[in-house]
Amino acid sequence: MTPSVLEVVLLVFVLTSALGAALLKDTLAAVMAFAAYSLGISIIWVLLQAPDVGLTEAAVGAGVMTILLLIALANTVRPSEDQLFERVRPRTVLAVGAFVLVMGATVPALPAVGATDSPVGSGEVTDYYLDNAYEETEVHNAVTAVLAAYRGFDTLGEAVVVFVAGVATLTVLRTEAFA
């Protein structure tokens, strides 16, 4: 299927803000570009019919992540603004360009965006969840059903990761807030 105008605009916006984050010398400007990037990509999630991911991305990606970056900036230093953009080194551009070309060469082998016969869209697991999620869990939202019921241990593992990350952060910063 061909992209709609809105999708093209969003993709261009997202790629431009990612480039801005990469090339702006001032760290605060890069953080702002990254926040715009997260917001743009959360709208793309909604267009791709993934509202749960969109909500999480907007709250956590654009919200919490920006706050974390700003706190880190407030506790460190902003490089002096003698120039607007980073110096671009041709050697790195060449290496990354080669990487992009190799990855890009594999793209036509993938199923088209939105293909109804793609392995994910018509897979056995997908059909099982869609057919049985409501009878087995009585939750209408299949994403919630899979997250909390079918893959509940996965989500428990995720909670463990977040807990460990919290402990690690406090240890690294030697905070005694909970001592």
Binding site: L15, D52, G61, L73, T76, F99, Y129, Y134
Partner: protein, 120 residues
């Protein structure tokens, strides 16, 4: 398949490749450690875009299942990416804590200055 055709049908996957490229570039080239963390996050969201695009089915609705509805997009990649987003934030928090700690110890966030200090 011509390049234009591929671009029109696989547009999101090309965006994935470009985002991965920008992420790698920032990880390699940015000397500022905070910008490296941002680059890591851009690389991550590139992968997320790959998953969510793979889940998408043309004309599909969000996977909130009701009797007689459908077709729906696949819920499984959405779940995996929800988990990945939260884990990504945890990762970023630890990375930024390390960055702040490095700044407290060495008084700089510049990778090249840090390397110089390390060698001295």
């Amino acid at each position: 398949m011509s390049v234009i055709d591929a671009l029109l049908t696989h547009y999101n996957y090309y965006a994935v490749v470009l985002l991965l490229g920008i992420g790698v570039y920032m990880l390699v080239e940015s000397t500022n450690l905070i910008k490296k963390v941002i680059g890591m996050n851009i690389f991550q969201t590139g992968i997320f875009l790959f998953f969510i695009t793979a889940a998408y089915v043309e004309g599909g609705a969000a996977p909130v299942v009701h009797e007689g509805g459908g077709p729906y997009v696949s819920p499984l990649p959405h779940v995996l990416i929800l988990t990945a987003i939260v884990v990504g934030v945890a990762l970023t928090a630890v990375a930024l804590a390390l960055v702040v700690r490095i700044y407290d110890e060495y008084g700089t966030l510049d990778e090249e200055v840090l390397r110089q200090l390390y060698h001295d």
